[in-house]
């Protein structure tokens, strides 16, 4: 089984090259699948990819100027090595056209696959938290299973022979026969590859050791909990609260330049970049939380659902394909990138209604985030202020590629269940339930 990785490269843009870079990115976006520069559809391991320009800004804490930067991010099937190699080899001149507008890119004479690779490696940023809707599901699997479902639907509509009795068992048998006779679906005769034992062992070890480490460090931290709580509550109560600021109203944010990139497909993207609240306490807390969150997304929320905790009666969201949190600018900012189903209003409502606690625990450390209490309470529950802040820090995604834009995360899961149940022995009730997936 192949699991998923993420690549994020961040490079400073040469100030006089901003417009030229924008033009190159626009050319790519115009035909993001098959353009001449970086034809994303030619990379079979890419689920999602994007280029984002982060404009130059002044850090409100300390007044330092942060130059404009380009972020290039991909969510891919492992191994990253293969992806990087094919990028620098097959899209080398495309990479050149993009990154030659950034600082420190090899000069024309020195551009080789090797030097490009070295450049990307040098500017690669660690993703602190990576959310994968379903760990282990490859692009190929998603696309094949979508094709399987389409072909069976077509068969049911047009080619299902008349039969008697007309019941679930006989319809399912007819579908099985159809799949068996269809050479293009030969792959569907066997179930999806199970994770290899080595990988499973590695994950189990990672989980066990990680959990142990968390418990140990937690124990060591225990004596400091009262101090932590005092500091936390003090920080929470003294931070400026956007509710008190007339500029933090939705009416203040006209985001037509963002809206023009949204709602063409049933999937959408969004990119947010924001400053961390001042002081070591916030940054340290955020870093620990992002590490913990990464542990939890890897081992708990790794199967189609983000934030469901039955014990706590928490219900998560099932519309996120991939998301990354990347700490940049020496810990001053966090870059957040999400690939999701629905539109932004829908996305925001979903998170406010279902996992406000999860937003709060991470984004609560960002400047202007609505006031939280005890890390998880309040915050995003201040519906309109939260929406206004999100819109304020959202930035344009100049290039966005989605490998299977016609599918929702729920569709993908359903397709996987169709394939999983196709040749499995099922009881009569299970057979009927399986047919209701069409």
């Amino acid at each position: 089984m192949t699991h998923q990785e993420t690549l994020t490269v961040v490079a400073s843009i040469q100030p006089e090259q901003m417009d030229a870079l924008r033009n190159v990115l626009q050319t790519i976006q115009q035909n993001v699948e098959h353009n001449d520069l970086i034809p994303f559809a030619r990379f079979p391991q890419v689920h999602f990819a994007r280029f984002v320009i982060m404009e130059s800004v002044i850090d409100p804490v300390g007044g330092r100027a942060i130059p404009a930067q380009l972020a290039f991010s991909s969510c891919i099937d492992t191994p990253l090595k293969t992806y990087l190699r094919s990028l620098v080899e097959t899209a080398g001149s495309g990479l050149d056209q993009v990154f030659s507008h950034c600082q420190g890119y090899p000069s024309p004479q020195q551009r080789t696959p090797r030097s490009r690779l070295a450049y990307l490696r040098r500017h690669q940023k660690k993703t602190q938290t990576f959310y994968v809707n379903t760990v282990g599901r490859t692009v190929q699997q998603v696309q094949q299973e979508a094709d399987l479902r389409d072909k069976i639907e077509h068969f049911l509509d047009h080619d299902l022979p008349r039969m008697s009795p007309f019941d679930a068992a006989s319809v399912r048998r007819a579908i099985q026969n159809f799949v068996k006779q269809e050479p293009a679906l030969a792959w569907a005769l066997t179930p999806v590859a199970r994770p290899g034992w080595l990988w499973q062992l590695q994950e189990k070890l990672h989980f066990a050791i990680g959990l142990l480490l968390i418990l140990l460090l937690g124990l060591l931290f225990l004596p400091f909990v009262p101090l932590f709580i005092i500091l936390l509550r003090w920080h929470e109560e003294t931070a400026p609260h956007p509710r008190q600021n007339p500029n933090f109203r939705l009416s203040q944010f006209h985001r037509l330049h963002l809206a023009q990139d949204e709602d063409f497909l049933s999937q959408n993207q969004f990119t947010v970049v924001g400053f961390v609240k001042p002081g070591w306490f916030r940054l340290a807390t955020l870093r620990v939380i992002l590490e913990l969150a990464n542990f939890v997304t890897r081992h708990v929320f790794n199967n189609g659902d983000l934030g469901t905790v039955p014990l706590l009666n928490l219900h998560g969201v099932d519309t996120i394909h991939f998301a990354n949190w990347v700490v940049i600018d020496g810990g001053r900012r966090v870059l957040f990138m999400s690939n999701y189903d629905g539109n932004l209003e829908d996305y925001m409502n979903d998170f406010i209604n279902k996992v406000a606690w999860g937003l709060n625990i991470i984004f609560g450390h960002g400047i202007d985030y609505p006031k939280t209490q005890w890390l998880v309470k309040g915050g995003a529950r201040d519906e309109q202020v939260y929406k206004a802040v999100l819109r304020k820090y959202q930035i344009r995604t100049q290039v966005w590629y989605a490998a299977y834009p016609q599918l929702s995360a729920i569709n993908i899961r359903n397709n996987a269940e169709i394939r999983a149940g196709l040749f499995q022995p099922l009881t009569a009730a299970e057979e009927q339930a399986w047919l209701l997936r069409f």
Binding site: D157, L250, S251, K354, Q384, Q406, Q432
Partner: protein, 480 residues
């Protein structure tokens, strides 16, 4: 909780004036605001409030963003209105979200559209009377001072109520309409908690379903020297208090096309009509039988005797959509307890309550068949324009109307579906997704799918309006 200031809330929020059979909507353009304001001041006294019982005639008034600007509301105040109201229904990105492209493109609209020759809609008068004669009198009285008040009448939208034998309202396809309405807490007697919604979802100035006050437009205190408006956020005066937003869409229905499609889709093998199957498919698409009885309440055939046609939910009776398909119009437009978190629980209903619309629209145009009989409709020669003036009231257009339209009605992925939108009013080709013109009925042993649904409903006009409280209206009439 503050009790509602009914005297300041326009009557159309509290009531649909169902006993006033005649109604018309006037669309006005302000040509000379200095003349319009004194007229508006006088008119404010005639505006029906939620406090007073409606008499023989009622008048309510709503204003577009351009209307507020035309009256001279300063930028400092205009900029405090929600973005979607400022940008308007026809902003191009919004059109994509609402499904207003193709034949719905605002450039073809009869009013409110983007065709440059069209006068901008500034004001909307909603007029109601006991009968046509009294309505005509009311209209004549109102129209008479228009020239002297700097007002140009852009258009008059007539209505025609469609009542069935039981006195229930139907829409032109022949189905009972206006069954599910939210009850406003503190205003309507609360019988059913699942349908009772916080006043703030429909009226600015009161807590909404999040127990918060929805952002309200403001006026700088120095611009309201006579303190006509109550105190609002940040020391400003509250222009929105007791007001709301009114969404208007004129939806034209292709009634013959609807039944012709159903007839063809359900024909016997020999090409003859199958009236039972035809009605069955129509009901599956609507989610109700013609009498209004829900498919959840009566899955196999119409049962007009069901008393409370709003007394049902989906999850426990019909989690798989075998009775009422997920894609059915009424299940999309109000999924009740169908959706996450935790379908079938209070948590699901609580989220659903943040997306409710108070519907106040009326039908227009003559029915093709008074008995709504599909056979008569299929053989009738009755061209002409008919449909519904869809009007809904909500305090937060983006979270209520636009959300319902985008995330429920026009979402190909609604409730786990793949590539279909609302069978009655949905967008058949949203964005770059390809066609979304299917309809799936879950069934045993497996689903039925209907293909190539044409568009049955076309948008002919529309706009977002501010529905001010009476005091705010008086304030607007005093603007310098």
């Amino acid at each position: 909780m503050d009790s509602l200031d009914l005297q300041d809330i326009q009557g159309i929020i509290a009531r649909g004036y169902g006993n006033l059979n005649a109604a018309a909507y006037l669309l006005l353009h302000i040509q000379d605001a200095t003349l319009t304001k004194p007229w508006l001041a006088k008119l404010a006294d005639q505006v029906q409030t939620s406090q007073d019982r409606p008499g023989n005639r009622c008048l309510n008034l709503a204003i577009t963003y351009q209307g507020l600007a035309a009256l001279g509301l300063p930028e400092s105040s205009l900029s405090t209105f929600p973005t979607e109201f400022q940008e308007g229904m026809t902003e191009p990105n919004r059109s994509r979200v609402l499904g207003d492209h193709g034949s719905n493109n605002p450039q073809f609209w009869q009013w409110g559209g983007t065709h440059p020759a069209q006068p901008t809609v500034h004001l909307l008068l909603l007029l109601y009377a006991r009968d046509d004669r009294q309505l005509a009198e009311l209209v004549a009285e109102l129209v008479e001072p228009f020239p002297a008040s700097g007002i140009k009448l852009i258009g008059k939208l007539d209505t025609q109520p469609l009542k069935d034998e039981q006195g229930g309202f139907r829409e032109h396809f022949g189905f009972r309409d206006a069954i599910s309405q939210p009850l406003i807490e503190g205003l309507h007697p609360s019988r059913a908690p699942e349908h009772t919604i916080k006043a703030g979802e429909f009226i600015l100035g009161y807590p909404n379903e999040y127990n918060l006050l929805t952002e309200s437009p403001r006026v700088k205190p120095e611009l309201d020297p006579h303190n006509l408006l109550p105190l609002g956020e940040f020391g400003s005066h509250d222009l929105g208090r007791n007001g709301s937003y009114l969404v208007f869409r004129q939806l034209s229905q292709d009634v013959v096309g609807f039944w012709r499609f159903l007839d063809r889709a359900t024909q016997h093998a020999d090409g003859s009509s199958n009236p039972d199957a035809r009605l069955h498919l129509a009901a599956k698409m609507v989610g109700r039988w013609p009498s209004g009885t829900s498919l959840v309440q009566s899955p196999d055939g119409d049962d007009p005797s069901v008393g409370d046609k709003n007394n049902f939910a989906y999850h426990h009776e019909d989690a798989q959509g075998l009775r009422c398909p997920f894609g059915a119009h009424v299940r999309r437009s109000n999924p009740r307890d169908s959706l996450g978190p935790a379908p079938g629980t209070e948590q699901s209903i609580a989220v659903n309550k943040t997306h409710r619309l108070l519907r106040r629209g009326r039908t227009y145009g003559a029915p093709i068949s008074d008995s709504f009989d599909p056979d008569e409709i299929l053989t009738a020669q009755s061209p002409g324009e008919r449909g519904i003036h869809f009007i809904c009231i909500n305090a937060n257009i983006s979270r209520q109307f636009e959300f319902v339209q985008h995330t429920w009605i026009n979402n190909p992925k609604f409730s786990g579906l793949y590539d279909e939108t609302d069978p009655l009013i949905g967008d058949r080709s949203p964005g770059k997704l390809g066609n979304t013109n299917r309809f799936t009925e879950p069934a045993c042993p497996f689903r039925n799918r209907t293909h190539e649904l044409p568009q049955f409903v076309v948008v002919r006009g529309g706009a977002y309006f501010f529905l001010p409280g009476i005091n705010a209206l008086r304030y607007l009439a005093t603007l310098a």
